[in-house]
Symmetry: C2
Subunit: 394 residues, 2 copies
Amino acid sequence: METIRQSFQVNFNYDVHFLTGLFNPENRLLASVIAGDDQSVMKKAIVIIDDGVLAEHKDLLNKLEVYALQYKDVFDILGEPIILKGGENVKNDHTLYQKLHERINAQRICRHSYIIAIGGGALLDVVGLAAATAHRGIRLIRIPSTVLSQNDSGVGVKNGFNVFGKKNFVGTFAPPYAVLNDFDFLTTLDDRDWRSGIAEAVKVALIKDRGFFEYINNNTSNLKSRNMEVMKQVIYRCATLHLNHIRTSGDPFEHGSCRPLDFGHWAAHKIEQLSDYSIRHGEAVAIGIAIDTTYSYLAGLLKDDEWELVLETLGCLGFNLTMPQLSQWRDDNEYVKTLLLGMEEFREHQGGKLTLMMLKEVGQGININEVDESLFHKAILLINEFELKKVKEI
Amino acid sequence: METIRQSFQVNFNYDVHFLTGLFNPENRLLASVIAGDDQSVMKKAIVIIDDGVLAEHKDLLNKLEVYALQYKDVFDILGEPIILKGGENVKNDHTLYQKLHERINAQRICRHSYIIAIGGGALLDVVGLAAATAHRGIRLIRIPSTVLSQNDSGVGVKNGFNVFGKKNFVGTFAPPYAVLNDFDFLTTLDDRDWRSGIAEAVKVALIKDRGFFEYINNNTSNLKSRNMEVMKQVIYRCATLHLNHIRTSGDPFEHGSCRPLDFGHWAAHKIEQLSDYSIRHGEAVAIGIAIDTTYSYLAGLLKDDEWELVLETLGCLGFNLTMPQLSQWRDDNEYVKTLLLGMEEFREHQGGKLTLMMLKEVGQGININEVDESLFHKAILLINEFELKKVKEI
């Protein structure tokens, strides 16, 4: 009997909005997103909020209530909002996933109902997985509250949580229904969270867009002094590059091996773990970028002035490019093993063959399939020297 | 700032093979499927087997070992095969999902490795979910061992398990890497499992292909006497219609509301539950088909001779069209409530609006969005009468 060759395409569409005042009653955006394609049906929603957001925006619950009242003919929020602890640790607590399913079940919401998640990237990841797997996918409206989630994870197509000490061991590819980036949330971020997300912008600029890197480099002091107009530009351009990559890569769900957006990330994931998650994801990405940029330089892929430019820019943004465990780097250090294990885990997560993105020049990445471990050792030593010199200069 | 409209397509491709002697050492098919797109890399696989299959095919483990040895330059089976209890109850035990992830982690298999699952639809569903969520998707090779899984669930794009007493409450859309339908597995099925899967063929024939329905109707005694050549045809044509639907529906991941392949299924899911899963899925689908066909007739959508033809064909295949709980049907019966709850759960699973497929004529379905509950009561009474008459005639 003849083999049946099954072949089909699935279309995914979602809008990413940039605004302020999302919950102002006169702002129809959220209501019209929820009304969606079929305005004849009253919509239902469950709201999930990061407790960190709530701590800084104490009027948020009240604003939500007023907003829902204003658009009560469009949608209904079922039950009290669920408040979850934000931050990477939310991804290690698997009972949350089950709790979210319990609520979805208890409120009897359907596939065409909405889960509205307000918070940082970690919270969006966990809620995203719960939403993607209940009824094989409930519509998820992401309202990212941090720089990192607004310019990177919150606009992408992934979710996940950590199991077996491995970041995102469990997860799915599941595009959101919509993303609403409200810049007002950024005003209350602490300096670390404000800065942290810029690392992903530096990353995508380095591998794809020299002009954008120059913009960041020219605005390091504006970013440090929390100039919101500059930050809006950084977020918008970073999100655009991220979304373009997903759209044009030909492999949005990563069936192949190549993952250029993960520049600097094999080390970053492990650095977070080494720090017991006291180092934020973006901060770890900055260190990861420094490591891979320095490797690129030592491997003869990248010129020395460009290498210096990258490390200097990261430094001017306020990033530390090393951490206690790495600043005491020695070949027989146990952290060596742990960090390099990150590469093995990356390979495992990615598929059989290791494909790492490195830098050819600022604004242009290059894939490599073989690595020289000794160069990574040297890279870390060189970064330590670079950081030490900086301290001495101050 | 301008809204970014994200829009992309994801391509999914997989082959469905029909054969006998899959594990004969000289049959290269499985090895060449595993070798896949990149033959330079040694592949890894984990094997998961339904204990029901193993009970009937005691040499399977040995055959697998010999096969793996024969193609040891292509792939390596890591660890002992995992033996799971098959049948619908496997979908109620959530620890299995975690156990599968533990094995995937312990064997350090990557996204480009394989999970080979041999068993019935329920086992394939649970393994499918574990495979789809580990590393955001490991390649799954389905080797369905029953009529039902070879012609229906095993060739489709869904997985899931049951939570909160709701069938498939948790699941994803995740096409397999390949499907290998080995007819040899069917020889050892008991009569109930042999017959059960034919219900899905009747279903898809009724809504899409009159000629196929006539073929089944002409071959009821061949099917009852377990004529394998006829069964092969039934499976091939049913799988083809199922795959065509997924490919051409324009909505393979069911973002919309319409689910024509679920004809007869709103009731079936609930009937399985009412019977405490003593009634097989296909047997429940047969009852569900009888209910919706009778509803179609009572609602004036379907002519009476066609109604009778459908019920008679199901009867000739050996299906019971009622069950103890339904044969004592009364309006105040608690089962009424439970069964009709199935429709509400179906609506909930499907999305806000109820869309039910009914019959216009044999070979052509028709969607309805409103139902008259009283007609379902009448339909069940009429089926009971029909069944009683059959008993008297015997």
